[in-house]
């Protein structure tokens, strides 16, 4: 079993600047836990990339990108608190990693800003709003990420994506199949209040 990360170093003041780990965070962790044997025995990952930091204590090199400087600092601390090393990079999605990491990432995880909002909220100056505002259908950031998945993922790599039903998961799966020839499945889904959260998993 994977241990729940220690988060007691985080305070209420921190959560004014970063998205507090919530049901969606833990659902993504549960999905990774469910696949832990597959990941360890078949994928044998050496590079893991988390877009929008989540922290999965599975792999040795964990690049964590985030556009929020505060989140990147918290990532370093969270790694230390949990006796693993995380490598935070302050950037937008995977900018600055391509084409160097073309087809090199073995595990890619993304807990995107998925909440349906007006389009202009996606570029809000508030870091915390940016962490959840997804624009039309909550899809604007997700859709910008999909082509990167094809660029980044290695031959045996797996992409885990958290979505809600409003994001039209079937449409995302269809796009990944038709444009990039990715197979997909639903790993887990859970009702959290009124929100149905779903973990999608994509492989070549």
């Amino acid at each position: 079993m994977l241990l729940t990360p220690k988060l007691d170093h985080l305070t209420a003041a921190d959560y004014e600047h970063i998205y507090e780990p919530a049901e969606d965070t833990f659902l993504l962790m549960d999905a990774l836990e469910k696949d832990v044997d597959l990941i360890k025995e078949q994928v044998k990952p050496s590079i893991c990339l988390e877009i929008g930091i989540l922290t999965s204590p599975l792999i040795i090199v964990i690049l964590c990108t985030d556009i929020n400087p505060y989140a990147s600092q918290i990532t370093l601390k969270t790694g230390k608190q949990n006796a693993i090393h995380l490598d935070p990079i302050l950037t937008d999605l995977a900018s600055g990693l391509l084409p160097r990491l073309r087809h090199s990432v073995d595990i890619l995880c993304f807990n995107p800003p998925y909440v349906v909002t007006p389009s202009e909220d996606v570029n809000s100056p508030s870091a915390i709003e940016k962490a959840w505002a997804g624009g039309i259908d909550g899809r604007e950031v997700i859709d910008r990420t999909l082509p990167l998945v094809d660029e980044l993922l290695s031959a045996r790599g797996i992409f885990y994506l958290l979505v809600i039903s409003e994001n039209k998961p079937d449409d995302i799966r269809k796009i990944m199949q038709e444009r990039y020839n990715f197979q997909s499945e639903v790993v887990l889904s859970r009702l959290s209040g009124r929100e149905k959260e779903i973990i999608l998993k994509f492989r070549r």
């Binding site: 590079i47 400087p69 490598d87 935070p88 990079i89 302050l90 600055g96 160097r100 990491l101």
Partner: protein, 125 residues
Amino acid sequence: MRLITHNMLQCHVKGCNTNNFPLELSEIEYELQETEFNPQFLRNFVPKLEWDALVRTAMKLGITTLPDKLPDTPIQEIDEKFLKDLHRVLLETHIQQGRMTCPNCQHVYPIKDGIPNMLLNENEV
């Protein structure tokens, strides 16, 4: 930022597509932080490294333990001394402060409190 991360970063300024790797380090403060030695991980990782870039970057920091060329021996037979030196450079050398300059367009990416900042202004994307 560990040197393993530096080995994966490149300039992404709009239109800057050649000679944009590795980013050149300057005004660097770094420290060593010990971590568990995992030879199998290193063996698996060697093919994913840009070796010349790593050697050149380490030299910049005054670290001369890495050979100019990767050993000819098959990866599974690489000797432990080599792997230990590599472990030190790649996973235990942490850059805390400094600058990374693109050799092509001269854009500067700062490193602050151990975190590389790859964000660009809107007109540079």
